[in-house]
């Protein structure tokens, strides 16, 4: 495999995780535009652990995920009071806060960035991506996920029929933050150089875009969306300067024709030859 293709595949794997981190939070009807912040935390923390403290990489990834999930839970509580566009703006503020903190945090390089990480293989990236994707695909059939969908559809009613909406919404933030941190740790150790600019607003938007494009009601939508988001601009290279405009137009067309994204439950049921069984 050429370095070019390996690079694209690694990007797809990392973006899939980022998209999944948004998907988990979105499953409880909360839109986070700050997941690049969680990714940045995972990125810098895991790099610190492997480079400065010589931790094995996997332990560093797990530690970064757990720490980010604690921060995600802390962010999740004030998020309970906000809905829709207000929550989106508040999480955007959180993401920018993390980025600007990293920019002035000189022990980890500040604006100059940070390096010294061991490069990880494409295989290692995809073991994490596939593992987390499978966990989420299994979780989607659980009673917990059913409760998350109830909160998504009607939070007030969900509370009044006995579901602990606070726990579910805050938990989703914690879980989503952990997945974003794994994406960050893999990003840092695949690119072996990180800077605060890697974890800006555009990255958060990419995550959301991948989910919306691929399908926001099923976990595999994140994978499909990430694939398209990375590969489409490459395939459209023949359009030269027009390729980003063409990409934007395609995006608008998809959203106009399939608001739920390319993949959804009925489509998956048809593809799996099992019919629309429960």
């Amino acid at each position: 495999m050429s370095t070019y293709h390996a690079g694209l595949l690694a990007d797809i794997g990392i973006l899939t995780l980022g998209a999944l981190s948004v998907y988990i939070i979105l499953a409880t009807n909360q839109l986070s535009l700050g997941n690049a912040g969680f990714m940045g935390i995972g990125s810098y923390l895991s790099s610190f652990l492997t480079v400065e403290l010589h931790w094995p990489l996997t332990a560093a990834v797990v530690a970064a995920a757990l720490s980010a999930s604690v921060i995600g839970i802390v962010v999740g509580f004030p998020a309970l009071r906000l809905k829709g566009i207000y929550l989106a703006i508040a999480t955007l503020g959180f993401g920018e806060m993390v980025r600007s903190f990293l920019l002035v945090f000189t022990p980890m390089g500040g604006s100059g960035g940070y390096h010294g990480m061991q490069h990880v293989s494409l295989g290692y990236v995809w073991i994490w991506t596939a593992g987390i994707l499978v966990v989420i695909l299994v979780l989607e059939h659980s009673h917990l996920w059913l409760q998350m969908r109830a909160v998504h559809d009607d939070e007030t009613a969900a509370g009044l029929v006995g579901l602990n909406t606070t726990l579910i919404k805050v938990g989703a933030f914690g879980f989503g933050a952990a997945v974003a941190a794994v994406a960050g740790a893999l990003f840092a150790h695949h690119h072996v150089y990180i800077e605060p600019g890697n974890f800006g607003f555009e990255r958060s938007i990419d995550f959301v875009l991948a989910v919306i494009l691929g399908g926001s009601t099923v976990g595999v939508g994140a994978l499909g969306g990430a694939g398209l988001l990375v590969l489409l601009p490459e395939w459209l290279r023949f359009l030269a300067d027009w390729r980003l405009a063409a990409f934007g137009a395609l995006l608008v067309i998809v959203l106009l024709t399939r608001r739920q994204g390319i993949l959804d439950r009925p489509l998956l049921a048809r593809l799996s030859f099992r019919g629309a069984g429960p």
Binding site: H143, L146, V161, G162, L163, A276, P278
Partner: protein, 256 residues
């Protein structure tokens, strides 16, 4: 009776609620005995649904206490109250838009076993949950709508799904907010028979309803609210002839 307190499932003591300057409920007291069917009637805006919202923790009472199954639930959050055995339906139904009928009777079921089981696919490990869901669907005659998105069903069926969802939470007390609103006589009569069967099975029922014939035929006991005040309580026959009630509610109803 010596152990009288254990025969009372729900007790409200001087419960009050105001919204801004409006007194929605003033010092309302009531008791619901175990295995009884009790009705709350009263004109629109009398505070009936507000009472339900206080009982289920949707609102917090400004004053007074609510005791359910010998536990003070006045300040409990809704999910804790419902786990304690008090489930409700909604006047405006409020089903989950993306869920099938089947999913509605799964989602409210109490968690069984440890946390891990809640994370595994329902198909793998939850035979008891599926069996109960199956049983509830059958009871309401909803099997044929099992995999249909609940919100796409006719109104009367949606009411049954709302009730099935509440029953799936395994309540001791079922609160029904206008269960026969929008139903024809046949449907109402069928529902009356279903509620009687549930009551025979040991379920206590508290319902808000405007359909007088339905209430009189079903309830053992009635409470009448008017402008947030309890103006009468007693057996249906006594309520029917109570001049205060006739004046506040039945009289005006008969007039129009």
């Amino acid at each position: 009776m010596s152990d009288g307190s254990t025969d009372v499932l729900l007790r409200l003591d001087a419960v009050a609620k105001r919204f801004g300057g409006v007194r929605a409920l003033s010092d309302v007291s009531m008791t619901v005995g175990r295995n009884r069917i009790v009705g709350i009637i009263g004109p629109n805006g009398a505070g009936k649904t507000t009472l339900f919202n206080l009982m289920t923790g949707a609102y917090r009472a400004d004053a007074g206490t609510i005791i359910f199954d010998d536990q003070p639930i006045t300040d409990w959050p809704p999910h804790r109250i419902i786990r304690a055995g008090l489930a409700r339906t909604f006047q405006n139904i409020r089903l989950f838009a993306g869920m099938t009928v089947w999913e509605h009777v799964l989602v409210t079921q109490p968690p069984e076993g440890n946390v891990m089981r809640g994370l595994l696919p329902l198909r793998w490990s939850h035979a008891a949950v599926s069996a109960r869901a199956e049983q509830i669907l059958k009871f309401f005659g909803l099997e044929k709508y099992r995999d249909v998105l609940a919100r796409t069903l006719p109104y009367g069926i949606q009411r049954k799904v709302d009730m099935a969802r509440a029953l799936a939470a395994a309540p001791k007390l079922l609160l029904l907010d206008e269960p026969v609103a929008g139903m024809n006589h046949e449907e109402a009569d069928e529902l009356r028979r279903l509620l009687l069967r549930l009551n025979e099975g040991g379920l206590t029922i508290l319902l808000i309803e405007h359909d007088m014939a339905f209430v009189m035929n079903l309830c053992h006991e009635l409470y009448v609210l008017d402008f947030g005040v309890r103006i009468a309580a007693g057996e249906p026959a006594a309520i029917r002839s109570d001049p205060v009630v006739l004046d506040a509610y039945l009289g005006s109803e008969a007039a129009c």
